[in-house]
Symmetry: C2
Subunit: 310 residues, 2 copies
């Protein structure tokens, strides 16, 4: 990372931003994590989480169900975003124990969950903020709400078009971990919810996912990058080229390539091999360049901009 | 139940058998449960679990993965069935901790699970015996195997047609519990696995489900009923009519009606209201009769056989 902060042969500083998934944390927390990991200071002003656009929706819905993450973390994030009345699956199970036949709350979950009369509550929207720790229970509750009349638990719509909308903070089917093969993630839960809704109701479910490869995320990134260049580097014009370095073809590369088609700026996709990449397979969404890791990608971009002998 | 054991105005004994899901128990255990609940003696000879046909497959596969149920119960059932080498998801997680990023074994699960070198093991078939308690982890492991070369964990097929077969002991999408609305069950897990396999590989997955409404189960029931009539009542001919009493249209009624089309015997479907039945909805698979409960169904059948004044 020293290269992009100016410690390079030309002393050139390269403006950059991060576009990443949230993992059930606020942007501020993720910035602190990343700053520690990378040993450079990263500001929330140069950081987009998958769920960042959800912040703008906190006025639109009164009561929301927030799914995913460890313990109460996602409730805290949602309240920090300005949502006024945040419900978790734990609240629903605590209030009605037989909601999920095989899922029992731990003592800590029971203590933190908030009992209420859900017969008198209307849930206006469902947000999957982070990876579900309990697929069966969370999907049961999600499906109960999607099939309800106006988000009232305990009711069933006859037409199956009266439930609340559901939003996923990102759509990565798989993600890279210490395991040799990538693991299923939030996009897989989305696929499962859609398939079960179809099976139970005979109808197609419309779900919304934020994050990559959604083009809105890249538009958001463009605005953020422009502000960051202006405030930090005093440059008040759009960049000629944006290098987007990512490890996942389906989200990073696909989104970059598609956004490039509609953008005046040249969005240049670089795939790094440190994630789900496999040497013997051609990615379904091919990048314009493949590099070993992020440092090599930065060097490649700098050389392409500044010349071969950089 | 007194009615069908002969304590009725005509002193007529009516031969009957049970066709049910297993819940991760052996036929013997389920018979003991049912005998206690119903206060009559029920013999394994008049009892079919969803997974009973799996018993006949224990010679066909050397090493099998068994999914579902509490703790070690399904391993015990599978070993009781004659399977020689039974692996659980717990064994795989104990041997490779990062298999499932968000699932940690409890102390008891860790103690009971059996560590081994899965790089040197070939898993020949997958059996979902009972409801999964960990949808995300179990599906990750199932998908790893389905996408493997010849059931070797850690490998990935390039053609995605080299994995082991997968069997589900029944296919009920929903089941009836104390909750007002039916809850998602094993058939829902099957739907999810199929949808995720399609999403990850682009290919359709062929899965096999036992139990109702599969016609093989009704054929099995016919053989059992015939043996039971012969041994217990000394009647050595097929019945003219079989009354099939069930609470779930999608499995009980559908299977009975379809089997009736191909059987010489008249299979007569009766839906009882004590399960997923809802008064205001017409079942997708309509029964020939609807009764309040099993006793009313037995009375109905007896009257239909023996006359109105019975």
């Amino acid at each position: 990372m020293k290269y992009i902060n100016g410690d390079n042969p030309y002393g050139v500083k390269i403006p950059y931003i991060f576009v990443t998934n949230g993992g059930g944390k606020t942007e501020e927390e993720r910035c602190i994590d990343l700053s520690r990991q990378l040993q450079i200071e990263i500001s929330p002003g140069q950081f987009i989480c998958g769920h960042t656009p959800i912040r703008e929706m906190s006025d639109a819905y009164q009561t929301v169900l927030v799914v995913g993450g460890e313990g109460e973390k996602c409730r805290v994030v949602a309240e920090d975003y300005g949502f006024k009345d945040v419900v978790t699956p734990g609240d629903i199970i605590k209030s009605k124990h037989d909601t999920t036949p095989f899922r029992k709350l731990t003592e800590e979950e029971y203590r933190n969950s908030r009992e209420r009369n859900f017969d008198e509550s209307t849930i206006d929207a469902i947000f999957v903020f982070a990876d579900s720790r309990d697929w069966a229970g969370d999907q049961q509750i999600i499906l109960d709400l999607l099939m309800s009349k106006d988000g009232r638990l305990g009711t069933r719509s006859e037409t199956f078009d009266e439930g609340p909308p559901i939003y996923f903070s990102h759509n990565d089917i798989v993600w890279s971990t210490s395991h040799k093969h990538s693991r299923i993630g939030m996009g897989a839960l989305r696929t499962s919810v859609e398939a079960l809704y179809k099976e139970l109701t005979g109808k197609e479910l419309t779900t919304v996912a934020f994050g990559k490869p959604q083009l809105g995320t890249f538009g958001f990134a463009t605005r953020l990058l422009r502000e960051w260049r202006k405030e930090t580097y005093g440059i008040d014009k759009p960049p000629a080229t944006v290098y987007f370095v990512g490890d996942t073809p389906e989200s990073d590369i696909r989104g970059t390539n598609e956004y490039n088609h509609i953008s005046d700026t040249d969005w240049f996709s670089i795939l790094v091999k440190t994630g789900v990449y496999q040497d013997d397979k051609t990615p379904q969404f091919p990048p314009r360049e493949i590099c070993e890791d992020v440092l090599e990608a930065v060097k490649f971009a700098a050389q392409r901009e500044l010349g071969e002998d950089w």
